[in-house]
Amino acid sequence: MAKTTQPAKPEELSKIDYTPPATDWLETPVEFKPGTYCHGSRIKYLEEVGFPNPREWAPSDEDWKLPANWKDIILEGMKERLGKYRSFQLFMDICVRCGACADKCHFYIGSGDPKNMPVLRAELMRSVYRKYFTTGGKLFGKQAGARELTEAVLKEWWYYFYQCTECRRCSVFCPYGIDQAEITMMGRELLNLVGGQTDWIGGPVANCYKKGNHLGLEPHAITSNIDYLLDDIEEISGIRPEPSFNRKGAEILFVAPSGDLFGDPGTYTAMGYLMLFHEIGLDYTWSTYASEGGNFGFFTSMEMAKRLNYKIYAEAKRLGVKWIIGGECGHMWRVLNQYMDTWNGPADFMVEPVSPITGTKFENAKGTKMVHITEFTADLIKNGKLKLDPSRNDHLNVTFHDSCNTARGMGIFEEPRYIIKNVCNNFHEMPEDTIREKTFCCGSGSGLNAGENMELRMRGGFPKASAVKSVQKKYGVNMLANICAIDRAVLPPLMQYWVPGVSVCGTHELLANALVMTGEKKRTQDLRLEDLPGIEEEGEGEEEENV
């Protein structure tokens, strides 16, 4: 068990030194305080997918039971990756340490820990790179900013590479576009070579490999969960959609993050998908095999990410669908937009996506053949294919959180906003430099949404929370909309701590609230089975009459 810190002894309390130790960053070793790091991955999860060095360990232990030759493994791995990734080689060489990125990282702003400055998180790796891969580093050592790779350094890597959510805000502000997420990915790949993985990432990777989704929902569990969602849809609208699963010959395959099939408020967004697709009579199918859009493998190594992502194209080919729609998820769309086709493409067994309802050609997806659901829905609304009654969302005062990956790895800004503005009458933007490409992260991305590192998550999410607080104060905002499953999972606790009174929802929950479905009964409840605004005054005894 992680050692609990004893209460401070009297003499410790008396000398409250207000200024922390000012040692040079090369020397200050890392202290694993509970609440600021995740548990180490357990044996079962590593064995299931063949990751090296599965063993019993905790990051706070002194001995991490690393393989004897761990140092050679790491350096050999670094050499191989320098040869395989121009980004890694370049970002190790061209940083001029100008400090433009230093105060842009939400973990630095929230924690004040200098090693959370993106430039320093990179220097943790660069200092080792210089020592073993540059003549200057070898000759001048510390003078040239180089240092030995020791176990303490490896622990420091682990502590800080699992304290970066790979949100890439630093690469927006770097004059050369140095992307700390790339360096963190390389760091995590190297750590994985010696078994340095967190439990919260290992679990979903093993589940996704074996059962098709991060949660480990087996086929009948997926259909059973969706049945319960259909019950609720029937209760509020009198209509029971009939989604199909693993159906061959369907026109479209729909892949959503599995978080939407399990946790609140994700399930409300899933209800939104079901209601929308039923209303427009879409010929689509879910898949229990490719039942995960997200990709926690992306937080371990490129190879693992490719092994998990394989299922989507394989299933699309097996079912013979024309193209794919992807649900609301952040990391999923970074992987789909920038990696999927390169890994598992070409997707030539599918055709260029064309909306069967509006005839619009999605040119920006003609290679990967996969369309974002907000692109699809925005097109429906623009062509007047949906009957909407925004007044049903009048009790909500909505603002929108741009997820990091859809913002900086793709550039989806207007589509979700267009939908929200058409389904909600009260919508306010957060301050300009906390949204769009400068959005602040939810603080728990890239697999950091575990429970044990709650303090770390609160620090990381504080800049975004302070932006939400400002619009809560100014406009009375009470609903934070987003298009990411991890956001829907982690923003509620973030709001409970920093901005009580603001709840969280997915964009398609708002859409389904306002959607007037053909043949639906008079709606008295929203997707959360809570009374809609303006229903109480009309009294309970209202008998249902068809709208």
């Binding site: 548990h39 357990r42 439990d199 989704n213 969602l229 599995s258 946790g263 499953a485």
Partner: protein, 111 residues
Amino acid sequence: MASIEVDGKSYEIDDDGYLVDWQQWNENIATHMAKEEGIDLTEEHWEIIRFLRDYFQKYQIAPMIKILTKEIGKTMGKEKGNTKYLYQLYPAGPAKQACKYAGLPKPTGCV
């Protein structure tokens, strides 16, 4: 990895205190864990633990909150079976111990 002693047999638990191998679970582990935290388990209590065990047996994962509220509603009376009422009554209930009692692993991922 820590472990707990119940009737002379030791069972492995992980960093958060969850039973590592859920098959090992038996009723007196639950009683042991509950007694340790000063809670005695009533018959109604056991009913729910058994429901969770059966659900897990069948689906290999914990039930969704929506499922549990519906099932509780059936066994404990309609008005207790909706999420809003239960969240209100137990916003910060000691859920963690309950999970340990039933000895079920935690769902992980984008949740």
